[in-house]
């Protein structure tokens, strides 16, 4: 395997050659948007033969999950090599072979909180894109108060009986399994009676309904649990202590959203749009805002890198990830406001297409709400990072 190379620069050269030989031309378009990506799962339809080939080859090298332990099919790369990996991928505009909530969220949670049995059961299908996961946290009316979980899981001896409703479940209609927060103790204080439960979406009593957003049809769903029976072995970590896992995962989610929202791994940049229009901004107000947006975006990109470097050096990012979430989302919104202004009347027409300036602009407004609102993030910074009282 590639990853057996001992020296980092040798690894780089080896990887470069391997990518040149193995990454199909079609997969080198630099596409980073959700719709172009391969999400895997039982019902996945490959968009092309190239997409399938690319996935299979990368699985073979452990590179769908480059840093995960090799025993579960991961690449086992440390940070320096992971950096090399992403640099070399970016150099040829290679798409990621597989994206999923399993890779981003459940995997890290299982690696930290799961039993050996759970890791062996659930991680390899994630690595190979066989099982697609979704996340069941939010509930109707709870908003920022994520711990006010009302979905209840009653102890029925060998299984739990789950009843309740989740909202904002991304891709619930396409997922095979869901990892969800459920209330297993009605009497305990709000944060103390929650468990982290894995539920097969094919179980009887699970149903979903898509949510239409102001930006058009969306990936979000409502998910309903109606007398759903779930084996007790599906609890991750300690019963009634699921909030610890939830908090851990929220940190991951913040980093994910902030990186995506900042448009650093895709999306439209101001400079690109201008280049495509073959124009320069002369209008004072728009120009001033564009420059400020560009400056802050560059500084934000560097900050993402710095935090990753710190994490790799063993300095946990922890609560500071709230800053990445806050800043990334604010920046993305500013950028989209600006792009709409730059496009002027040309951006006022919209047929509901997802891959359009108006759709992206509308969608960007959700960034500062989903995955913890900007207000929640600022509270985390104030209290946990700065140590302000109250």
């Amino acid at each position: 395997m590639l990853i057996d190379q001992q020296d980092t620069e040798a690894f780089r050269l080896e990887l470069r050659q391997w990518l040149a030989a193995n990454c199909p031309a079609e997969m080198r378009d630099g596409a980073r948007d959700e719709t172009a990506a391969c999400w895997g799962g039982r019902s996945w339809q490959f968009s092309s033969e190239a997409q399938k080939t690319w996935l299979e080859r990368m699985i073979g090298q452990g590179l769908t999950t480059p840093t995960w332990p090799r025993e579960y099919g991961g690449g086992g790369l440390e940070r320096a090599r992971e950096k090399v990996f992403f640099e070399e991928m970016a150099a040829i505009g290679a798409r990621l072979p597989l994206v999923s909530f399993g890779i981003w969220m459940l995997g890290p949670a299982l690696l930290k909180f799961g039993t050996d049995e759970q890791k062996r059961t659930y991680l390899p299908p994630i690595v190979r894109g066989e099982i697609r996961w979704c996340q069941g946290y939010s509930e109707p009316g709870a908003g920022s108060d994520l711990a006010s979980v009302a979905t209840r899981a009653e102890d029925r001896g060998d299984h739990y009986l789950v009843n309740g409703q989740k909202i904002w479940t991304s891709y619930a209609d396409k997922a095979d399994w869901i990892f969800a927060l459920v209330r297993t103790d009605q009497e305990a204080p709000k944060h103390k009676g929650i468990s982290f439960l894995l539920i097969d979406m094919q179980t009887k009593g699970v149903s979903t309904r898509p949510i239409r957003l102001i930006s058009g049809a969306s990936v979000f769903c409502e998910t309903f649990f109606d007398d759903v029976e779930v084996p007790k072995a599906n609890v991750v970590g300690v019963v009634n202590q699921g909030w610890d896992i939830a908090k851990y995962l929220l940190t991951h989610e913040r980093e994910m959203i902030s990186a995506g929202a900042a448009g650093l791994t895709g999306g439209r940049s101001i400079a690109q749009v201008l280049a495509s229009q073959d124009s320069r901004l002369t209008d004072a107000t728009l120009r001033a805002r564009a420059l400020e947006c560009e400056i802050d975006g560059l500084a934000f990109g560097l900050t993402l890198e710095r935090y990753k470097d710190q994490a790799a050096a063993g300095q946990a990012v922890g609560d500071a990830s709230a800053m990445l979430k806050y800043m990334g989302c604010e920046l993305n919104q500013r950028r989209h406001e600006l792009l709409m202004g730059m496009a002027g009347m040309a951006a006022l027409e919209w047929d509901g297409d997802h891959d359009s300036l108006p759709a992206d602009w509308l969608r960007s407004r959700a960034n500062s709400i989903e995955g913890g609102t900007s207000e929640v993030m600022l509270g985390i910074i104030a209290k946990r990072v700065l140590g302000l009282p109250g």
């Binding site: 920022s144 239409r212 102001i214 004072a284 009347m345 407004r365 959700a366 609102t373």
Partner: protein
């Protein structure tokens, strides 16, 4: 300086408009029209005409109510609150103001038809992505007993259904404004799918013939007639946006009082309180600019550009802030199509561009103030 408080008449007009619109054109009416892909409701316009709104700027001798610009802005403000789409701005403000700048029976008849709700107008000036009348390129060349028009206009608000078009064209030594039947041969109208469901069209002119008496005002001199009309339209649009902003703010404050999280009303969180207070302060400043623009238009139409640009710039900035804060403070529910706030956000964006964006009006002010 004119008195900047609403008069008793204005308060009554606003009240009557509010009752009428809450009854016939709440936001759910816009939603229905959008879902039906409909951009004009002739019944609603007929009833608005019956209220005297169509003729708000039409002289009494032409059958109008001649209530003045301040009154027109009061109506626009109320229309904005529930995002009503109607030919009010294009027809009753812009076209009526243009027609009032010329004399003659033809103009008087047109004004009379506007007042009765009998005809609707659209203003066809824009060609590029940004409002820039002076850059208009559509060409009208002299040909025998008239002119021939060739070119294209975009984002013609109300242009897909209007009976008549005011078309800005480049002529020999300047620009000329034509008043044309929208069904004239050679005109092709394509309705745009606007993000806010307001009517707009792209209009092609291929060898469209115009007669001498289709020229509104003087040949090679469009602006004498057009500038006041645009000014009035900008002011009314600003008033509409201030209504939109006030309504979005009202919904937000209501939500802050009612919505509970972490065991308390979210309106008790100091950070949200301060943001709401800042937003209200911005609304107050904008309200003053709106009132002032109406007063100045009524006093001295020709010298009201500073007041009008101030109103449009402020309304644009305030509406943008109001809808952004509204969506953010409503949280996830505000992002769903089932909830109304998204409509406010989309309308604010479209209105921000129409008839000049913030930057455009800022530059107008800069010129007038020597900055």
């Amino acid at each position: 300086m004119a008195n900047l408080i609403e008069t008793e008449e204005e308060r009554m007009l606003a009240g009557a408009a509010r009752r009428f619109l809450d009854d016939l054109a709440p936001v759910s009416h816009l939603r229905q029209m959008r879902d039906r892909m409909q951009t004009h409701d002739p019944d609603l316009w007929y009833q608005m005409s019956a209220m005297g709104w169509a003729g708000v700027l039409v002289p009494e001798q032409a059958g109008g109510d001649d209530m003045g610009f301040s009154a027109a802005m009061v109506i626009a403000h109320e229309l904005g609150k529930t995002l009503v789409i109607s030919p009010f701005l294009s027809t009753s403000v812009i076209a009526a103001t243009a027609l009032r700048q010329v004399s003659g029976s033809q103009a008087t008849e047109a004004l009379a038809s506007i007042a009765s709700g009998g005809i609707t107008y659209a203003l066809a000036i824009d060609e590029g992505a940004k409002f820039a009348p002076e850059a208009s390129q559509l060409r009208a060349r002299r040909d025998g007993n008239g002119y021939v028009l060739d070119g294209q206009k975009t984002f013609v608000v109300d242009g897909s259904f209007a009976d008549r078009l005011l078309v800005l064209a480049r002529t020999d030594n300047g620009q000329t404004l034509f008043d044309l039947d929208a069904e004239r041969p050679g005109i092709r109208r394509d309705r745009m799918k606007t993000i806010d469901s307001r009517d707009a069209a792209t209009i092609r002119f291929d060898g469209v013939r115009a007669d001498f008496d289709n020229v509104l005002g003087h040949f090679d001199d469009a602006m004498t007639v057009l500038a006041p009309a645009i000014r009035a339209g900008q002011a009314a649009l600003a008033a509409e946006m201030s209504g939109l902003a006030a309504a979005a703010f009202g919904m937000t404050v209501g939500y802050l009082k009612e919505r509970r999280q972490f065991g308390v009303a979210i309106g008790s969180f100091q950070a949200l309180q301060h943001r709401a207070a800042i937003l209200w302060s911005e609304l107050e400043l904008t309200a003053s600019a709106i009132l002032n623009a109406g007063r100045m238009l009524d006093q001295d139409l020709d010298n009201a550009q500073l007041a009008v640009s101030l109103a449009k710039a402020r309304a644009t900035a305030t509406a943008k802030l109001a809808v952004a804060e509204a969506v953010q403070m409503h949280g996830g529910i505000g992002m769903t199509d089932a909830f109304d706030i998204g409509f406010y956000m989309k309308r604010a964006r479209v209105s921000a561009e129409w008839l000049g964006d913030y930057s455009y009006h800022a530059e107008q002010i800069a010129q007038l103030r020597g900055i």
